[in-house]
Symmetry: C2
Subunit: 124 residues, 2 copies
């Protein structure tokens, strides 16, 4: 198995580049059991989650990752928790917003899907 | 079983009040398999984790929770992931720091222990 930090980097690079270029492509990363908490609102299942993400009211968005920390989340399967902090630039604005996001990734067929996803903007 | 948001609130209230009054008391919340990532540094096991937490170089600290989001982390056991964002006041300073912290809580004997703990300050 690849190093857990390598998996975290590869996953988050892919996730945010997909988010920032074609949000609908994120659907493949979720399953029916997947959960998203987005600014306190809860969604379950790939369709509901991607419907939420694709309906966010901005034209362009850019995630700039500052930190990513990964830990194995189980002693029995190769799942992992990744915590990301970073900056979000919306519609080319000059005041990036800080965010934090947690992913719980479950192995499946040589890859991973997102079981838990918790997103929060961090206000000063 | 209590509602997951109730568990998250009870746990984080207890965790931060213990952290802010007697850090050594946190040891009971971790096990030998527990992991802490603190500002990117990794620690494993209750002893190493609490040694890190009790050696942090401040006299007083106050955690002010802004948001807490909880999700079940498994379809088979009553574990949960809690993501917290908030403000940290160190030594009574006038400039609170933003933080985010993820806990992965595993049920044990009617209570929970911390399997994963990831802490990050969020810089603007």
């Amino acid at each position: 198995m690849a190093d857990i930090n390598t998996i975290a980097t590869q996953f988050t690079d892919f996730y945010y580049s997909t988010f920032d270029t074609d949000r609908s492509g994120l659907k493949a990363l979720y399953r029916d059991t997947s959960m998203l908490s987005f600014e306190g609102a809860a969604f379950q299942g790939a369709s509901a989650i991607v419907e939420k993400l694709t309906s966010l009211p901005f034209q362009t968005v850019q995630h700039k990752v500052t930190t990513r920390d990964a830990q194995p989340s189980s002693t029995s399967i190769a799942s992992l928790i990744v915590n990301v902090t970073g900056l979000l630039v919306v519609d080319g604005g000059e005041n990036p917003m800080q965010f934090s996001q947690v992913f719980h990734l479950i192995p499946e067929g040589g890859s991973y899907y997102v079981f838990n996803d918790i997103f929060r903007l961090n206000y000063g």
